[in-house]
Symmetry: C2
Amino acid sequence: MKNYKFLIEYDGTRYYGWQRQPDQETIQGKLEKVLALLCGDDTVEVIGAGRTDAGVHARGMVANAAFSTELSAEEIRDYFNRYLPDDIAVKEVKEASERFHARYNAVGKTYRYTCYEGPVKPVFDRRYYYRLDKAPDMAGMEAAAKLLMGEHDFRNFCATPRMKKSTIRNVDSIVIRRKNGYLTFTFHGEGFLQNMVRILVGTLLEVGYGRMTLEQVEEALNPDIRKKAGPTAPAMGLCLWEVDY
Amino acid sequence: MKNYKFLIEYDGTRYYGWQRQPDQETIQGKLEKVLALLCGDDTVEVIGAGRTDAGVHARGMVANAAFSTELSAEEIRDYFNRYLPDDIAVKEVKEASERFHARYNAVGKTYRYTCYEGPVKPVFDRRYYYRLDKAPDMAGMEAAAKLLMGEHDFRNFCATPRMKKSTIRNVDSIVIRRKNGYLTFTFHGEGFLQNMVRILVGTLLEVGYGRMTLEQVEEALNPDIRKKAGPTAPAMGLCLWEVDY
């Protein structure tokens, strides 16, 4: 029995997210189905670095799975790619230490959210950006990003805050770039709550459109006030870019 | 009545090519349907710079159409993009001289053919490249490209050579680039015969794989010999890049 580390890319458009579900197509479900085929055992779990929501993409999802096979790491990669649908790819398989755990050992994650604000929607990457009707104000968004960076209780930036678990997170960088009609938001932090990146983007856009003030952003960061953050930006613009170990 | 020049981008995957067909979805058909809506006249023709085959994409298709409207050029563009499906976009609309004809006035075309030769198929652009199982030899392809460039009778590089029409064409450049697992072939010439770019790519790949010699390429370029050129490379890798006027 060996433990393997996987680097995975997927177009999440037609999936119900990462996590295995009984009657839904999911990324984890697809990977485990191929793994069951490969090692003749349908109980082997593929452990992901995190759970992406329905419709969210990944360029750099990391996962691990422990199983027995006579195939080399490269042959495992090729086996997966032969049987996976063409919107999921295993980019790399490496033997890992037996203690390696893709979720517990992750020390940082990069997410990128892509918007398009130009006049004509590009065709070729149309599944990977969120279309904006007009360009939001950059200075306002930069100022809001400064407030959001750092350690905060992000309870108001979470889809389903569970009372017992900590909602304190540290967002150590938010980089906003504008280029060729695209507007991208790149977030780095140790970890993010459910929907948190999309709510952060929704909040930044609200400020960019003048519909939310910096004071309101500060209020949303105060967990004692049940003040709403911005709306949850659509899943299609979000991509799990990289996981650090 | 004014004549308008259109710059159009499309993902050809689900279309039966550019040219209008009675019972098939085509790019021209889709554009003319929107135009009929815009100007209340379903007889206005959208004239394209050329006809792309089923499954072929375009970043820079040019077309023209003459019609009456009170909308500005920019409003026409926005009207099209509101009603077109999301795999076709009108990037630009400009008023043109009444004599401008997108096909007759085209003096050059650039086509790019994209292959992927790396070990793992990229997911996000999977509809826009042709997957190669192994990397073809560059030197052989470069030598074959040198033979194919210039003015030749490309009868053997054409899907349906019609006896009465000239099959002489001038391919003034073929640029082959290898980068990050992608292999691209960029062709420029005044015009190309039906399937010609795809057959040129198929021929270059045959040479790259050592299945065709340079002598056989030269023979295929001799119209008196009914010698077969290489196979027709799949449509999905091909993109009409630019049209010159």
